[in-house]
């Protein structure tokens, strides 16, 4: 089914319930769906579990969700940055739970969720404190850690261009987590710089096929 075309970011995120697990695309600010995050903040949704590579920068986007204590748990690889003061404050106050995941394991756990994989063995993290208590296995002389997929209720991602069927094209390193998050969530909400008519995208250039996309909203760049 073709995605719903929302009238604005507030309309796009209107169905997100309290307590949802929300994947938020972006690596730093590249590919971070700022307008969707702002709309989520305005919507009042709270007690969220958020998955993002980082834990917000400065005074915008994800950082503001954390500042307003809407995020009860964050699953990320690199929360500590020079401008992550809102996360730092929430963490030190014991007001946000952190699950720290090596970056490649984070990406692969999302990929596994979208691909129907039950769990996978990865060499990353073996013998470290981030693998403490996890199942391990030696396969052909090499040690691996068992990691589980990371499913979510909603993904908020940003792409460059979509057609009205939800096929997505990204731009440069802003692609980052978009394709795997789009597949890992039950509902995928995408903000794009522009929506074009069917036939307006080169099928060879489509990175995320429209079947993964539930809601589209155009946000002028």
């Amino acid at each position: 089914m073709a995605p719903r075309i929302a009238t604005d970011p507030a309309d796009a995120v209107a169905g997100i319930a309290d307590g949802s697990t929300v994947l938020i695309g972006g690596f730093g600010n590249a590919g971070q769906p700022m307008e969707l995050i702002d709309a989520l903040l305005t919507s009042g949704a709270t007690d969220l579990t958020v998955v993002n590579n980082n834990a917000g920068q400065a005074d915008e986007g994800l950082a503001l969700l954390i500042k307003e204590r809407r995020v009860s748990k964050i699953i990320c690889s690199f929360p500590r940055q020079s401008d992550s003061w809102h996360f730092d404050a929430a963490y030190r106050a014991g007001e946000i739970e952190l699950e720290l995941v090596p970056q490649g394991n984070l990406a692969e756990r999302l990929r596994a969720a979208g691909a129907g994989i039950g769990a996978f063995y990865t060499p990353t993290g073996y013998g470290t404190e981030l693998a403490a208590g996890k199942e391990t296995r030696n396969i052909d002389g090499k040690d691996y850690v068992l990691e589980y997929p990371l499913h979510a209720d909603v993904a908020l991602i940003k792409a460059h261009t979509a057609d009205t069927l939800g096929n997505l094209v990204y731009r440069k390193t802003a692609r980052n987590f978009g394709p795997v998050m789009a597949a890992a969530a039950a509902q995928t909400i995408v903000q794009v710089d522009s929506v074009v008519a069917v036939g307006g995208l080169d099928p060879e250039a489509v990175v995320t096929p429209g079947l993964y996309v539930n809601t589209l909203v155009e946000v002028a760049a």
Binding site: F27, P79, L100, A107, K172, N176
Partner: protein, 220 residues
């Protein structure tokens, strides 16, 4: 290369130049944040090295300035960069699959400590009040065909960072093959497991090095 120079230690740029000169032509390389980033300044066009950045790009060019800055084009340190002709983009899972799958030739990383058997500590000092952050450190450590480290061998108080066993939290086990420092270049597990081969010395002699390190050393 078992040169002994007892007069001059290596500065950061000289160390970076030495690492760059040791990367085989045509290699696919990931340079970690910090000291390793300087290596790119010393790679020559003739070497034909392709740089990988784990946020999703091969063919990364130099840092971007002025009108070339594009917020959609950054490196793993979130610094604006440029793309070279022949560059390619891919998503995060592909980028780490590329690394974990052993498709990159060399990864150069910084370190707090390296053990004689090649264990790496570079993601956490274990300080109880620090906010933990790992990023791609654990993936980078174990993914490439060769993992090289650049670090100061001796801290300000004289303590060596090439150690019999790590005292800092582990990033990866048995993964480091070569260590570049201000006073020596080391190969790990080359002669035999746990024995450190000294390939060159800079501003120090082999005997003094052997005296100051608590790991078994052999000359190349």
């Amino acid at each position: 290369m078992s040169a002994q120079d007892t007069q001059n230690t290596l500065g950061p740029n000289e160390m970076a130049a030495l690492v760059a000169s040791h990367i085989a032509p045509g290699s696919y390389v990931n340079l970690g944040i910090g000291r390793p980033t300087k290596v790119s300044d010393h790679l020559t066009a003739e070497q034909g090295i392709t740089l990988h950045t784990e946020n999703g790009m091969l063919g990364m060019g130099p840092a971007a300035h002025g009108d070339d800055v594009d917020p959609d084009l950054i490196n793993a340190g979130k610094i604006p960069v440029t793309e070279l002709p022949g560059a390619s983009y891919f998503h995060h899972a592909d980028s780490f699959a590329m690394m974990r799958g052993g498709h990159l030739d060399v990864c150069v990383l910084g370190a707090f400590q390296v053990s004689a058997t090649g264990d790496l500590a570079n993601w956490s000092t274990g300080a109880p009040d620090a906010i933990p952050a790992v990023g791609g450190a654990m993936d980078l450590a174990i993914g490439a065909k060769a993992t090289w480290v650049m670090m100061q061998l001796f801290s300000k108080d004289g303590a060596a960072k090439l150690v019999p066993q790590l005292s800092y939290p582990v990033t990866g086990l048995g993964c480091v093959t070569r260590v570049y420092t201000e006073v020596a270049v080391f190969g790990l597990n080359e002669a035999e497991p746990g024995v450190v081969t000294v390939h060159s010395t800079h501003g120090i002699g082999f005997d003094e090095l052997a005296e100051r390190l608590d790991v078994p050393l052999v000359q190349a």
